[in-house]
Amino acid sequence: MAEHATHDTHDEHHDDHQQSFFMRWFCSTNHKDIGTLYLLFSLVMFFIGGFMALVIRAELFVPGLQLVHPEFFNQMTTMHALVMIFGAVMPAFVGLANWMIPMMVGAPDMALPRMNNWSFWILPFAFTMLLLPLIQYAFFGVGAGGPAGGWTLYPPLSLQGGNNVAFTIFAIHMMGVSSIMGAINVIATILNMRAPGMDLLKMPVFCWTWLITAFLLIAVMPVLAGAVTMLLTDKFFLTSFFNAAGGGDPVMFQHIFWFFGHPEVYIMILPAFGIVSEIIPTFARKPLFGYQAMVYATASIAFLSFIVWAHHMFTVGMPLGGELFFMYATMLIAVPTGVKVFNWVSTMWKSSMTFETPMLFAVGFVILFTIGGFSGLMLAIVPADFQYHDTYFVVAHFHYVLVTGAIYSIMAATYYWLPKWTGVMYNEALGKWHFWLSTIFVNVLFFPQHFLGLAGMPRRIPDYNVAFADFNLISSIGAFGFGLAQLIFAWIVIQCAFLGRGAKATDHVWEGSKGLEWTLSSPPPHHSFSTPPVINDKDLAHGDVTH
């Protein structure tokens, strides 16, 4: 009888390799160890990028320049973005994919384990290179510092940098290589390594969102590589791709950049949708509402992400027809995104909820991400965008979707799967403290920035008129509160992952958890499923597979 088949053949010890520290952590081809490396790397980058954000908020605490020169301020805003996007959010999602996808589809490991090792180990070198000019300048007084032209690297400004331009561009090339290899691995794993009976439309939503994300990555990372290579040759080899004086076109860079940049935005949010779609049904003890609608909505968002790029450029002077097209296309994204939010709310309707930390972060995600979605819809309206564009309103918007969106989902995922990964329950009381402090302070931090932008404060300025003083002060207080609250998170992770402190986690961990990963032991065996598991439709995470 299929119902009675369990996966208890996975003995925790039979494949517990005795490896040296170096072999295990530097030469690993194991999806879990590489996943751990990705996640720890991301955590370190999160604190580095967060520290830069605090330098920014400290300078903006009161009007007048008190701490840093404007040039260094610009380096902070630029590096904060690059480190957070490429160093914190993207590697965290790849780490989660590494850990969870093989376990969710019933595979022993990722399809391409050696490439997996390589794609991780590129990252520490890429980020050393990215950060080197800044480190040299800030700590040793050597050179002119890091890139200061904004993370979007718009020429001609970005080309006014010194040698840091080359450092940044090569670092971006390496990150791109890493991301593309990671994406190939995800696609190869999902398409080839699913256990018999795990049809595509039976996969957990997290696998679906990552499959679509991986295709986005493969499509757009080469575009970014092309754009920055042209910057490189403009800077060092006297080409004029983007130099108007040489017949080039500075606006073309923006078109190419955002053709990468907008799908990139969804690269950072689609896996988050997947995570939340796993967590809410678990703690609602009710199947996910509209599983297939979720999959199709994700695919629609991914498709639309390729035809909306110029909404980042409404003020560059596009023809009327172009502005109208990009406005309409952008507004359309609200429809599949709305479907997702309605589905999450419907999953909660008539359910039986408890609010452990992962659920708190997931619910926080839905509410706060939706606020970011609303401001996104407002930004799509071109005439209104003429006022919002490049102001703190935009800063508030993308921090709502990235901090309380992407980062909240990563935290939710960490709390959700940490007991599975480590075999130890995290400290629930501390987790709740972390959630509530983060949620209060993140709103103190970012909500007033809407007001600042509407009142007329441009983004990326180190100093401001006294009219903007009050909300900047509040925002900075929120920033330090939010930053300090993340130390709780680090401590919780250290407790579970390194100190092994806490109650022993059961295999099932959560009362309402469903899906293959929960049939494995906590922590799972070295090779997740060395024999394919038997798939029972009713044990799948989303319950009803026919819709």
Partner: protein, 284 residues
């Protein structure tokens, strides 16, 4: 404590009135309705979308909070097993599309009107430099550089020891403002000399990037005389935060007198005689 209560009082005052903030004010919560017909349209559009978002937000968050309050395991809630409802799914796909169409229609109208720079009575050429603006009154020889006012420029330095809050219009004041007539459709042609800048005065209702090698167009017609302040909105290097914009709208006669005075005060006419004066780009 007193500071806090004043702050709260100002916040309440800001909430209570949507008075036309021509320039940013403390505790300002909302966009300025501005000083032109376009900026009023933009403001109304902004308020319409904001209102729609609030209503949708109330419904969605209301349903969420109701669920979280009502369907808790601790309150004995038992989970249902359904996971789809075709009618509901069709409704929440179609209704948002209709709402979006409703939003797109006024937005399109406003955009078309804002894009129409025809019938302008005068043209001002704006050139962005690191970190100042040049204004040229096309058809005349009047042109000048406008940069951050001296007192603010001295005070803004790291470690200047000056209390910047004591400086009036700190970082929003220039040495030579752009003077324009009221009740006149003014076309702006906007470009840059070095890197990309963006010319933005919130009271006019738009910003337009100044890009080297490109000439962008925009227009305005200011009805009320007044002083309208803005800033460069596109990151343009280390002093991006220190290149403000000030537009002073004067009644037409006063403007004509000012322009004639500027023209007369030009030091050397022969310098401009070598290059043919640009043809006045007025009503053709």
């Amino acid at each position: 404590m007193r500071r806090l209560s004043t702050g709260l009082g100002m916040l309440l005052a800001a909430l209570a009135s949507t008075a036309a903030w021509a320039n940013p004010e403390r505790w300002q919560l909302n966009m300025t309705p501005g000083a032109t017909a376009s900026s009023h349209e933009v403001y109304q559009l902004h308020m319409i979308i904001f209102g729609i978002c609030c209503v949708i937000g109330l419904i969605v968050f209301g349903a969420m909070f109701y669920s979280m309050w009502k369907f808790r395991k601790s309150k004995g809630a038992v989970a249902a097993t359904w996971s789809h409802n075709t009618t509901a799914e069709i409704i929440w796909t179609v209704v948002p599309i209709l709402i979006l169409v409703g939003m797109a229609i006024p937005a399109t109208g406003t955009l078309i009107r804002m894009a129409d720079t025809g019938d302008a009575e005068m043209t001002v050429k704006i050139t962005g430099y690191q970190w100042k603006w040049r204004y040229e009154y096309v058809g005349t020889d009047v042109n000048f550089i406008s940069s951050l006012s001296r007192d603010a420029d001295a005070a803004r330095r790291l470690g200047s020891g000056v209390d910047v809050t004591a400086i009036e219009n700190y970082l929003l004041d220039v040495d030579k403002p752009l003077i324009v007539p009221t009740g006149t459709k003014i076309r702006f042609v906007i470009t840059a000399d070095d890197v990309i800048h963006s010319w933005w005065v919130p009271a006019l209702g738009w910003k337009q990037d100044a890009i080297p090698g490109f000439i962008n167009e925009a227009w305005t017609q200011i009805d009320e005389p007044g002083t309208y302040r803005g800033q460069c909105a596109e990151l343009c290097g280390k002093d991006h935060g220190f290149m403000p914009i000030v537009v002073i709208a004067k009644p037409k006669a006063e403007f004509e007198a000012w322009l004639a005075q500027q023209q007369a005060a030009l030091p050397d006419v022969s310098a401009t005689a070598q290059t043919p004066a640009p043809a006045p780009i007025t009503k053709s």
